[in-house]
């Protein structure tokens, strides 16, 4: 299994019985089970505070789950990090936009994992950075300090960093928030190209209208996984009402226990 999924093929993500508790002792996610199928674009949908970012950070290995197991392409998260399998495009409010750094240097940080300890870029690193900037149409802005960009340009800069990193799995946390329709359309086109090239993409979004246009699969989340599957199956009126309608958590808990019992 491990060696079957080499870096040239597509990689999936499996989340098995994941629970995350923050230091304020609040359970942010519990008993979450899902699979992000290899080579798909999977949409992650849920209201604010439902744990989308928490799920992303668990998959990326930024926080330590209190329970559960995550594998990326069959590898544990730490191995996947070391092999540059996963790239992450953070939510806008997680970035210090006043940091004295320009777009080119941010994208170059995507290459650090390939460099020696002194992080001296090779010709290849520079070429990949320029190509990544080109792909997101940001070459002209490469000398801009990151705070001097529009919302869409900011997202594209970090997407370029993910491209430069050449991760087979790309996670994007609300990439369309604060982005105009035209830019969103362009980013979606790019995501579809990346899928074509064998990337696995997990993207959280509040733009419910566009999901069926580009997401092969959808995961509905509200503190646990409520539904997941192909967009046609999952993205139903009924499921959305359950996700956003504010069912009391207790009934959700019961539901997840039941499903556990069934297994």
């Amino acid at each position: 299994m491990k060696d079957m999924q080499s870096t040239t093929s597509t990689l999936n993500i499996t989340v098995d019985d994941l629970s995350v508790t923050y230091s304020n002792a609040r359970l942010a996610l519990y008993n979450a089970n899902c699979t992000v199928e290899a080579g798909t674009i999977t949409g992650l949908v849920g209201p604010n505070g439902s744990g989308k970012s928490t799920l992303f950070k668990s998959i990326m290995g930024f926080l330590q789950p209190s329970q559960g197991q995550i594998r990326v392409g069959g590898f544990p998260v730490q191995k996947a990090q070391k092999r540059q399998l996963m790239a992450y495009v953070p939510q806008a409010d997680e970035v210090d936009w006043n940091f004295p750094i320009n777009v080119f240097d941010v994208v170059m940080m995507g290459r650090y994992g390939y460099m020696n300890l002194l992080r001296i870029p090779s010709a290849k690193d520079r070429r990949l950075v320029m190509e990544s900037l080109e792909r997101v149409n940001m070459s002209d802005f490469r000398h801009r300090q990151i705070g001097e960009l529009s919302g869409g340009q900011k997202k594209r800069a970090f997407l370029a960093r993910a491209l430069a990193q050449e991760g087979k799995v790309i996670l994007l946390d609300e990439p369309f928030t604060g982005v105009d329709v035209k830019t969103e359309k362009r980013m979606i086109d790019l995501l579809m190209q990346l899928r074509q090239e064998g990337h696995t993409i997990l993207v959280s979004t509040h733009d419910l209208a566009s999901i069926s246009t580009f997401c092969d699969r959808t995961i509905l989340l509200n503190q646990t996984i409520l539904a997941s599957g192909t967009t046609a199956e999952t993205f139903t009126e009924e499921n959305l009402a359950m996700t956003f309608g504010g069912l009391p958590v207790s009934s959700l808990r019961q539901k997840s226990r039941q499903s556990e019992a069934e297994v």
């Binding site: 950070k57 930024f62 004295p100 750094i101 994992g113």
Partner: protein, 306 residues
Amino acid sequence: MSDLVAAIPLWDWLVEPLQYGFLRQAIWVSAFVGFVCAALSCYITLKGWSLMGDAVSHAVVPGVVVAYALNIPFAVGAFLFGFGATVAIGYVKSKTRLKEDAVIGVVFTGFFAFGIVLVTKIPSNIDLFHILFGNVLGISQQDIVQTLIAGVITLTVIFLRRKDLLLFCFDPNHAKAIGLNTEFIYYTLLSVLALTIVTALQTAGIILVIAMLVTPGSIAYLLTDRFDHMLGISIASSVFSCVLGTYLSYHFDVSTGGSIVVLLTLLFVITMVFAPRYGILAQRSKQRSNPIAAEAQGQELSRDQA
């Protein structure tokens, strides 16, 4: 002609002290210290670690006392206790539900108080006043050697690891995502912080060393959006203040550490008011010329804070 006559005594007054070896020595030592502190200052201000710097500087006191008592170099004792305090802070924070600033406050005052108790109990010829406020004019050759060693190690580590340190300050999550050992970078930055404080101990003293670690970086941050420029401005303002402050402290017979920090603070105030983009005046004229944009920016700011 009369101008010239008047100018000669002034010139003498300015140059005369430079004949003294001890003053020349104090000037270059403090310039060196200013250089080291200013380099690290850029990382500390961007990371938001000012309070951590304050903590480490106070926590070294027992180390200095113990080192003198055991007759080992003061730098070794100071470093061990300074770095030990950061480890203690990390440990307490991970084991309790306290917020970081409370943990830092508890740990460093504990270390500091322990040091004060030791100073007053262990018979030694340590002058508490010199530890607290520095004494670069009376610095011994031995202490200079220790200052130089600590400073050179600091600069070397910063220079070799500068890219990783900057990435760690900017986006530690990304550092993790690409498989870097962020724990190691975290402790690298902390140990460099402790070493820098050891470097600055003799010049600025424990109480004021935090100014040398925060103010130069803050001045530079208000003046530029590029990290390499920030480094240059930080170092220039710090070395300038150290040289002039040491020199003036001799002339007016006032505390050296005090003069340096007063000069740094003056530079900061001037920058805060007149900085071309981020100064108070520039911000105000921007608002006046473009009230709508200013309002939008204000909204964005409050959203950022939310």
